[in-house]
Amino acid sequence: MAKPAALWYLRAMTLPDARISDAELLTRMQSFHWWHSIALRPGLTTLGGKSMEILAQEEDAFLAPFDLTGRSVVDVGAWNGAFSFAAKRRGAARVLATDSYTWNHPVWRGREAFELARAELGLDIEAKMIDPPDITEKLGLFDVVLFLGVFYHLYDPLDVLARMRRITRQLLLVETHQDLTNDARPGMVFYPSDILNQDATNWWGPNPALMLSLLLQLGFTRVFYRDHPTLGRARGVYAAFTPEVEDSLVRGFDSNWLDLDVPGAIEGLLTP
């Protein structure tokens, strides 16, 4: 019979250097519901709802335009930590992973899964249990704020977006489900109960025109947009820069990106 989970966990906490066997790691990996597929050892990859291929494409789409070397990064809604780990591997000096919902979820047990992956990968990443609606300036100011897959899960995304602005020094990266994408006027759709994808945690679907308005309203001075690399216009990625952004942060946007705050940019996103 397998050992109780509590004992493995305790051992991992007290003896961080003790390498567990591949077989034991596999058993522990299988004891969690994973969202991110993460290669922990050669041949040992967590079986996540998102495949490695999709995550690789997302990482490239979200992070490649930016030079993270030496920067501070906060990952809001980190879940299993794939983007926190990616930011660290891309040279970030400091990475703080935060979450609450998935980390406290009685089935997903995201915090424990994150801890297992972090320990196994040996990456120096901080973790803090905090819900986005509770984030304030007290968290500190970060060069880059990753706000991926969170906006539309919030009943009050406007409040939280304003909170994200207050912890952003240079770049806020927002990835979100969208709706009304064929409307040039700013708007967002409300999803009562679980009508969007049978998921009661989905609340709002904004369109690019709205995201642009909101981000400018919050004091960002430039907003770049691209479609999601695999899901297209159904989800959007927004890079919003503060006036303090250093030129060296931006490596260069490829042709998938679009400067939203130029005349005709929003109209250009509409399908005829």
Binding site: M1, A2, P4, A5, A6, Y9, T27, Q30, S31, F32, H33, W34, W35, L47, G48, G49, H105, P106, V107, W108, R109, E112, Q198, D199, A200
Partner: protein
Amino acid sequence: MTPQSELSDQELLARIGRITWFHSLELRPGIVTPGAKSLAVLRREEEALLGPFDLRGRSVLDIGAWNGAFSFASKRRGAARVLATDEFAWTHPTYKGLESFELARAELGLEVETLQLDPTRMDASLGQFDLVLFLGVFYHLFDPIDVLQRMRAVTGQVLLVETHQDALEREEPAMVFYPGRTLANDDTNWWGPNPPLMLHLLRQLGFARIYYRDHPHYLPAEGSRTRGIFAAILPGAEPAMSAHFGIEWRDLGAAGAMRDFRP
């Protein structure tokens, strides 16, 4: 889909009246079978049992299907293939389970397969199904361990067990035996397992994660958790199939999970 049946409302009502129903099923607008379980109760059970799963394109095996409520629900939720099985209720002289199932299936026009087979005789030759529904059966078996092993053999991804339970005050695995008619005056009730027992039994059979929730109608607030629902997930199961476990569920493998069960 249009109903396959050409019965008049009158004839349909007459046929419904000849059967003792367990599930209330709305066969036509306004025509509902008079089941011991009401429509509202079944709707809540369906949400609690099937809500966590994306069944679109997947295969489902329903053990002890009786009148078929959960087979039909699975099909309606997009399952590509549903196999309903039963023997006790389907061959029972009063329940006339198979006749009832076929009447409902024809009325609802749902493509659901049937197989008259008792779970004690099932094995891997039946094939493997993405989701196996083992609802309200465990405690009716004299040898539930053998049958649970058989259920493991036909499970491709997830086994869903709904059962009466007992011995909740104990943290160690235990199940209570009910000789004769000691439980609810019903001589088909044999065992009352507790959650630790289900956890360890299912783990022993090779399931990697065991999630639990209280039955929506037998809540702790009402005195005791006399029924529980266990979702046992095999290593390698597709995460996308079981992505909607809500906050009512908990991972029984988590540290301290068992302590909460004590009354």
